[in-house]
Amino acid sequence: MSYHSNADLGGTAQPGAIIPEAEGDLFHAPWEPRVMALVVAMGPTGMSNIDMNRSARETLPNYLGSSYYEIWLSALEKLVAQTGVLGDAAPPARRVLKAPMVLAAIGTSTSYSRPPTQAARFTVGDHVRTRSGAPKHHTRLPGYARGKIGLVQRVHGVHVFPDTNAHGQGESPQWLYNVAFDAAELWGPQAQRSIISLDAWEPYLQPA
């Protein structure tokens, strides 16, 4: 089984200008707010989790040719088909988001942190090398930061692991770190002077 994400864009050449937008300019077609709301409202039903949603989006063949809410719509259609929620044997929704519950529901935090079951392997100030190569599954280690040396600058705690959660293989919680990279380590000696940091789960990291 191969797996390819069309969404891993950091450092790639992408044409087009960045077009600033006014604060109130949230939607650009009448159907867009409906898609946003459908995706949010499907969360409590238990049809899919946030990592399955991301995986469904990033593997769409026309990812780069689609607007963002189009991506959300196509991925939702794909998940509805894959999970069979419209079929006769579909399981009932775990919970249905009813209108009076909405404000309380979106104002409530659903934590992604989990209790530790073992000690963290790394601590602030440790040098680490990230995993190299593209895994054959959903992952959250961007291509530009694979096989690179960085510095642990925060320990976030233990969080749900997207690499398994996206494929229905359980949360498999892992220690999560913020790792900082010098721009030259990522892009070479000609890079603009800057520090790029990202959040990386322990299985992405080795001591360096």
Binding site: Q14, P33, L38
Partner: protein, 207 residues
């Protein structure tokens, strides 16, 4: 409810429906019939992100941090709790980290892999934040990106880019403009723009 009535109305007038609109309506109908979706809940959700949950929430957090040193300290130490104390907890704000701009350091937030964004304090992300040009360039050419937003920083300023690859969400605390020193906390919130809390803009006097 009001929204969909308007759509139906527009459709009667033109007789044409956009194929995307048709797909959305078909999906909503099927999921509603199966009992997964309450259409009235969608109306409330849309209204909430249009009128209640947006960058004015984050602006109030920043304004307080500018005025109250204890709150600023708390925000930098435990942003999730400090922000929750102002009533802005919730979806896509579960694990917050605040990063502070200084004369030496400018912070810029991106999600190169999708569109992760601190909804609880900034609302829904703008289109450019989710676009390929921003996501590809922010990590490699931050000064070029800032130029596209009309922001020019001194060469000596270090740029720190935060790629939101997990469920941790980053909020930039911009520097308080020197000419705003006489203002109250509530007046200051109007100086804090959405882009200044992403790092693609600087705060300034409201137009």
């Amino acid at each position: 409810m009001h929204d969909s009535e308007e759509h139906h109305h527009a459709e009667h007038e033109t007789g044409v429906t956009n194929p995307l609109e048709q797909r959305v309506r078909a999906l909503e109908t099927l999921l509603t019939e199966k009992g997964y979706i309450d259409p009235a809940a969608l109306d409330v959700l849309i209204d909430a992100y249009q009128t209640k949950i947006g960058p004015r929430n984050g602006a109030r957090v920043v304004a307080r941090a500018w005025c109250d040193p204890k709150f600023r300290h708390w925000l930098l130490e435990d942003a999730t709790a400090a922000i929750a104390s102002m009533g802005f907890a919730g979806r896509q704000g579960e694990h917050m980290v605040a990063v502070e701009n200084t004369p030496q350091v400018h912070n810029l937030v991106v999600c190169t892999l999708c569109s992760c964004y601190p909804w609880a304090v900034l609302g829904l992300p703008p289109t450019w934040y989710k676009s390929a040009p921003y996501r590809s360039r922010a990590v490699k050419d931050p000064r070029g990106v800032l130029r596209e937003f009309g922001v020019q920083l001194p060469e000596s300023t270090q740029i720190r880019i935060w790629d939101s690859t997990a469920e941790v969400r980053y909020l930039v605390i911009p520097q308080r403009p020197a000419e705003s020193l006489h203002l109250s906390e509530s007046e200051l919130a109007d100086w804090v723009t959405r882009d200044s809390m992403i790092g693609t803009g600087l705060p300034g006097a409201p137009a």
